[in-house]
């Protein structure tokens, strides 16, 4: 063994490991956090647009939301330089929750509660909250 640390040296090494861990985490995940902000903004505003665009333009908000979400995910996949530990678990949970809310929001606006403002407010708020919460958890992770 090249080094047999004393208790003092062992404490220094543990502190160094904790500092390095903390520094690495602090510099990671910003593309993913920004991506979740973008996802929340695009989808919640897209839902509002869906409720009010004329019928002949109904596909426009859907296409725009998916173009922006696709671009965000592509940039995250291509250009993020570090992925924080536990990201996969947090990301899966956030995206699943977002997906359920998005589908429920679109179905609600078209079929379940068409023209009802309370549903639009609730659905767009829920999309905002779940993506902000996901970004918060990623930032703290």
């Amino acid at each position: 063994m090249s080094e047999q640390p004393t208790p003092e040296r062992a404490r220094e090494l543990l502190e160094q490991a904790a500092r390095t861990d903390s520094t690495t985490r602090a510099g990671s995940s910003w593309p993913q956090i920004a991506g979740l902000f973008g996802l929340g903004a695009a989808s919640s505003l897209g839902l509002v647009a869906l409720a009010y665009v004329p019928h002949e333009l109904i596909a426009l908000p859907l296409v725009l939301v998916f173009v922006w979400v696709g671009a965000l995910f592509a940039f995250i996949a291509l250009f993020s330089r570090a992925i924080k530990r536990g990201f996969g678990r947090r990301w899966t949970a956030t995206i699943l929750a977002w997906g359920v809310l998005w589908v429920a929001g679109v179905c609600g606006i078209y079929w379940w509660f068409p023209g009802q403002v309370w549903f639009l407010v609730a659905a767009s708020t829920a999309l905002t909250v779940v993506t902000l919460l996901g970004a918060w958890l990623e930032a703290r992770g």
């Binding site: 047999q4 861990d21 330089r81 996969g88």
Partner: protein, 99 residues
């Protein structure tokens, strides 16, 4: 019969200062680009490459190479076994620190 001294639980490969810092940084991430580690640890490319390759040979680190357009990129991560070995190494250090 006396208990084994915790120093025997330390992993030789992780007593090297650069390898210690490298594994500490990798443990915080799922994976991280070579350049990020290089900037954080403030060591030369050749030192980082050599130490990462040695840890790869020991099954502690996984090295993945790829391209974004024409730019080569190298990603480093800890293997599941590497994470377990790092946890045992830290536990041994903690036991020594508590003596």
């Amino acid at each position: 019969m006396s208990e084994e001294h915790p120093r025997h639980q330390l992993l030789d490969a992780l007593t090297h200062p650069v390898r210690f810092s490298l594994v500490a940084a990798l443990n915080a991430t799922e994976s991280v680009e070579f350049g990020v580690v290089h900037d954080q640890l403030q060591i030369t490319d050749s030192v980082l490459s050599r130490q990462a390759a040695q840890l790869e040979e020991l099954g502690i680190v996984a090295i993945r190479k790829g391209y974004i357009g024409k730019r080569p990129r190298t990603w480093l991560s800890l293997t599941p076994d590497g994470r377990a070995q790092w946890a045992r190494h830290l536990a041994a250090l903690q036991a020594i620190a508590d003596m």
